[in-house]
């Protein structure tokens, strides 16, 4: 097992990130440990769920997209070129499958609305989409301020920060890349989206966020 580890991230005692653990899990799986992916599935499913949901996929379909992403990982386990980038691979795969699901759903709805009985006399109700998740469940004032402030960011920034919050901080860079928002210069680990959010939060008043 030692030989294969050489290709894995070199950690300096600061602990492994989710991206690192994903790489190790895939490598061990390739080496024949069929149980190696269990912990990764537990840990990264929330990230995949929110990635898929951010593409506008409703709940039922999102569950299937997440499942099929994990199945795809197993099926491609031997051919993923860079185990180190497996977290990004998972996010990109989930995102593409989500787009495909949205496209098919739209095509289906279009086909249905084109049925002859869909006339003004017999309007056909399309199934209601899941209501957008809202902030009603957030009881804490700072949580609500944070959520409202997040909504003021561009959509892709919102998506990025929701995902980054669920991963380990050093995975920020991988997640940004998966979302198609590279972080730019090496020196800026915070990234524009988070800086922007902090600015908006500061405008909301004198809350301590620490």
């Amino acid at each position: 097992m030692t030989g294969s580890r050489e290709a894995l991230p070199d950690v300096d005692g600061s602990g492994l990130t989710l991206g690192d653990r994903a790489a190790i899990a895939l490598t061990e799986y390739r080496e024949g440990n069929r149980q190696a992916l269990g912990e990764l599935v537990r840990e990264a499913t929330p990230l995949l769920w929110h990635t898929v949901r951010a593409q506008g996929v409703d709940q039922d379909a999102a569950e299937d997209v997440v499942q099929s992403t994990w199945v795809a990982l197993v099926r491609h386990a031997e051919t993923i070129a860079e185990p180190k980038a497996v977290l990004k691979w998972l996010l990109v795969t989930a995102k593409r499958a989500a787009w495909e699901s949205v496209r098919k759903h739209r095509d289906d709805e279009k086909r249905r609305t084109e049925l002859p009985d869909d006339s003004p006399e017999h309007p056909m109700a399309l199934p209601a989409k899941d209501p957008l998740p809202d902030a009603e469940v957030l009881r804490d004032e700072r949580d609500r301020i944070l959520w409202m402030s997040l909504q003021k960011l561009p959509g892709r920034c919102q998506e990025l920060l929701r995902l980054v919050s669920l991963a380990d901080r050093p995975d920020y860079r991988h997640i940004s890349a998966a979302i198609g928002m590279p972080m730019g210069s090496i020196g800026s680990t915070r990234g524009r989206c988070l800086a922007k959010l902090r600015t908006i939060l500061d405008e909301q008043g004198d809350f301590s966020w620490i």
């Binding site: 209601a128 957030l138 920060l161 669920l166």
Partner: protein, 186 residues
């Protein structure tokens, strides 16, 4: 690509803020992200058994069956799983039959789930185009049960324990590849 929506000018005006927008993550960033993670989970929680279903789906991946896609157009309000869970939570309620359709390039399978004695489930299925099919019912920790369809593509499992399950469908003449449904909650 410019990701800031309206004005960028205020990027220059943040000098008097307590953090450096170009700098490394600070403690405040960490706290904001931690709080955001909690909010994300509260607002749109990951479905309870999605991890377990994914883990079971992984164990079935070795069957080399193409994944079918579930069609949810006919379940506008309560999702299929939500309805099943609700029925489970209240066994005294007269649970209605639930129908789920699965599609793949070559095959459409429709299943109807209805309550059976002892809190179990009856699965009635129908596949199109009609052909002789072997239908396997896979569940975690239980032996696979296989039934054959009739020539119209109809098949049934009379009494199945509730829980995670996936159907794998193969043509008896060996034509076409095997297909499997996503793991669903019966």
């Amino acid at each position: 690509m410019d990701l800031t929506p309206e004005s960028n000018q205020d990027d220059e005006a943040v000098g008097d803020l307590s953090f450096d927008p170009k700098g490394a993550l600070d403690a405040g960033d960490g706290a904001v992200l931690t709080r955001l993670a909690r909010a994300v989970e509260a607002v749109d929680p990951v479905p309870d058994d999605l991890v377990e279903r994914s883990l079971f789906a992984i164990t079935l991946a070795g069957l080399e069956a193409d994944l079918m896609e579930a069609v949810y157009l006919d379940t506008p309000l309560a999702g299929v799983r939500g309805a099943a869970a609700a029925a489970r939570a209240d066994d005294t309620a007269p649970a209605e039959a639930k129908t789920i359709t699965f599609t793949h390039d070559s095959l459409t399978v429709m299943i109807s789930l209805s309550p059976a004695a002892g809190g179990r489930v009856r699965i009635d299925g129908w596949a199109a185009p009609a052909a002789g099919l072997d239908v396997e019912l896979h569940r975690p920790g239980v032996d696979v049960v296989t039934v054959a369809s009739d020539e119209d593509g109809r098949f049934a499992f009379d009494s199945v324990e509730r829980g995670r399950a996936s159907l794998v469908v193969r043509r008896t003449d060996g034509g076409g590849g095997a297909v499997s449904t996503p793991v669903i909650e019966l």
